[in-house]
Amino acid sequence: MSNTNVPALEVKHITKKFPGVIANDDVNLALNKGEILALLGENGAGKSTLMNIIYGLYKPTEGEIYVNGQKAEMHNPKDAIALGIGMVHQHFQLVPVMTVAENIMLGAESVKKNGLLDIKKVAQEITELSHRYHLDVNPYAKVEDLPVGVQQRVEIIKALYREAEILILDEPTAVLTPQEIEGLFEIMKRLQAQGKSIIFISHKLKEVLYISDRIVVLRNGKVVGETTPAEATQEKLAAMMVGREVILTVEKKPAQPGEVVLEVKDLKARSDLGESALRGVSFKVREGEILGVAGVQGNGQTELVEVITSLRKADGGQVLINGQDMTNASPRAITQKGQSSHVPEDRHAYGMVSTYPVADNLVLNTYNLPPFAKGVTINRPAIIQHAEELIEKFDVRTPSPLTRAGSLSGGNQQKMVVAREFSRPIKLLIAAQPTRGIDVGSIEFIHNQIVAKRDEGVAVLLVSSELDEIMSLSDRIAVMYKGEIIDIVPRAEATRENIGLLMAGVKRGEKI
């Protein structure tokens, strides 16, 4: 055995410059053997850049990496894997139509003497690994049939199969349900007990405090502090991350509901796969109130929002906005005639054009209206001026209005979308997963903006799979389960427990 005092991984004076940005600025970091080290930071703080350097995807401008005390030269992930570094990306790198075993052997194929793939041997090894770490994965299952949490375990096995001693988990909890998160943490503990060293990247404070041995905080590419869960609190960590005090609870006055703005009657629709996704959904949202739609992801929330905003066709039922029937109207009619705004769930697919400048994205659905267009000609000065105002008002961190939107951090992209959608005069706001995958500072900002809209008298439909978000913002909570609204609970009567039961499909008063 080598000296146990030598860190499993050490990065020294790592600096990474991109044109116009310093993503990592003289970063020093040591990961001890058998340790879970949390790397905490806002989006754009440089966490992913640093991990990509460690994994050989980027070459640092300056600095060195040591693995087990040996200086490491990494030109590509292959080198990193050879040194025992494994990475589980936020977006899984799996082929959906292939089996677990096929995915795992991809790039490290096991071949029989006759030149054919030895799937049996691989499957056996997977079963062994799965058993040792209680991962519970069937090597012959097709990846596309597996729940997200299991897919993630496949990624972990993939790294273990390649004999990783150091595991980098990039935002592993972002895609998981609360139960799956607990499962992941158990696995991480077990890996740790077997001597693996883990870097856990996150911006979720609770999780970091729960699971890690040590916490390193990054801000603007620099290490700004190091602490342990014993010494830290959520407030302290948030302040370190953002660089100022952050209020984690949302302050709001009681709601003063007015006229009905959005009414949905017996709405029915199908999913992309043609299955019935909405089975007769009805509710009303009034002026000056926030109706939160809770539910485990995939219970029809996505389809509900898409049908209301006309991105998906309704098979039956009605959508009334301000008393007008807007069922299957054009998306433009919904936004312009219906005076509504929509913060879409998937900002990369729907909310923005990542190759466009920020300024163009800020007029994505108003480019045809004055002052941005005069007849058919586009008024660029007006678009730039509008962008400058919104960037200032919504604190979008971008080098300029002409910067490509895709190069902003996730939180700033979302602020850009929010800026666009919140700056129009509206009566209805539909916000789907408005803070998914973004940092604490931006979450606080967006939450306050949503409450401010409500206080202006806007009707807000908030869809979120984060129960904390639903609980802290909503005035009433609708819970979706299998394409239906199983119940609508006033905020005062809602607890994590009763909403949690509804999310699992258990109605009030029903025995489990």
Binding site: S330, P331, L364, V376, I378, S407
Partner: protein, 372 residues
């Protein structure tokens, strides 16, 4: 887009320039391997294109059709569509303009020329609309449909001028009886011919002015109008354009109609300014060269103008190259194909010249999806 900076300009020029450079080098190696003298060949090529007034005239004459088919492919690319159909749209433009050019005899040139050009534009536009409509209504991929429509257009055009057969097959409606057994139309009347800027032997006609104006019109349309914004948004992000309230189906049809109109215009100008009649062998590869021009020009109208000029000079200098150095002018086709390969696969150029991709850099070469 929309904004301008020198660095951005340099970056967008880098790949096409290196693609051209690499194609010329590889072309030289091929010539050398074949025992030819590449230096003499390129010298002849350059002199053929620019060494004399007639060389310049030929370059300019060949410039306008390449420019317009290049713009045709480029505007479709802007909307995320791959128009392989410029060739067929060019053919339809030719037929429509030739019909107006031979059938209206009592018309002053000031009306007849614009009318015949407009007819060509209309022919291309209608032919371009077909794959657009098919894509929107049935999901048929434009790459497949435009290729099919190229054949249909070529065969249709051939039929219109068919000279008839000895077994009593009927001649086509546009066939010129005076041409006897040759399948071709009669010449268009004088009033339908685009006037010369420089008459024979130079034969540079005013069509080039129209083509250059079209560059500016297209640049304005793409970058300065709401229509251009819609085209580009559909091309960049289909879902986001739905979200933005853009009528995606109509925008796709419009883009294909514009692409067809430009290629049709190329056919009209070539007919009314150079050939003065139609025969099935006219047209050549100009529709397909439009793809190379559009990619070399990075789908930017001004870039397309430059790229077309360069390709026109290659075409113009080929004859003198062959005469001076003995290298077959077919090597020009080889160089064209190499340029297309290099510019369509910028990763090769980046690898050879060790160019790093700036993280904020947009992909300038359009990605072609086969997903429909």
């Amino acid at each position: 887009m929309g904004n301008f900076s020198l660095r951005r300009l340099f970056r967008s020029l880098l790949i096409p320039l290196l693609a051209v450079f690499s194609a010329l080098i590889v072309g030289a190696i091929i010539m050398w391997l074949a025992g030819d003298n590449p230096v003499a060949a390129y010298k002849g090529l350059f002199q053929g294109a620019f060494g004399s007034a007639r060389g310049w005239a030929t370059t300019i004459r060949k410039w306008s059709p390449l420019l317009l088919t290049g713009l045709s492919v480029a505007i479709a690319f802007q909307a995320g569509l791959f128009n392989i159909g410029a060739s067929g749209q060019f053919m339809m433009g030719t037929i429509f303009s030739v019909w107006v050019g031979i059938n209206f005899t009592d018309m002053p040139a000031i009306i007849h020329v614009p009318l015949a050009i407009s007819a060509g534009i209309l022919g291309g536009l209608l032919w371009g609309a077909v794959p657009g409509i098919l894509k929107v209504t049935t999901g048929a991929h434009e790459v497949i449909t435009t290729i099919m429509l190229n054949y249909i257009a070529a065969l249709f055009a051939g039929w219109t001028v068919y000279a008839g057969g000895s077994q009593g097959q009927k001649p086509g409606p546009l066939w010129d009886p005076a041409a006897k057994a040759i399948s071709q139309t009669p010449p268009v009347v004088d009033s339908a011919r685009i006037p010369f800027i420089f008459g024979p032997p130079y034969r540079v006609h005013w069509g080039i002015a129209l083509a250059i104006i079209t560059i500016f019109v297209m640049a304005w349309l793409i970058y300065k109008t709401t229509i251009g914004f819609e085209l580009r948004t559909v091309g960049q992000n289909f879902k986001a354009s739905k979200y933005a309230g853009i009528r995606v189906g109509w925008t796709i049809i419009l883009a294909m109609m514009l692409a067809g109109a430009l290629a049709g215009m190329a056919g009209a100008i070539e007919t009314l300014g150079v050939n003065f009649k139609f025969a099935p062998e006219f047209g050549g590869s100009v529709g397909f060269d439009g793809i190379t021009v559009a990619l070399l020009g990075q789908t930017n109208p001004f870039g397309v103008g430059l790229a077309a000029f360069f390709m026109a000079s290659l075409a113009a200098g080929g004859a003198k190259m062959q005469f001076d150095s003995g290298v077959s002018s077919d090597i020009i086709q080889v160089i064209n194909a190499l340029m297309l390969a290099f510019v369509a696969a910028p990763a090769i150029i980046r690898y050879i010249y060790r160019i790093r991709k700036a993280p904020e850099e947009a992909e300038t070469t359009p990605k072609i999806s086969w997903g429909g």
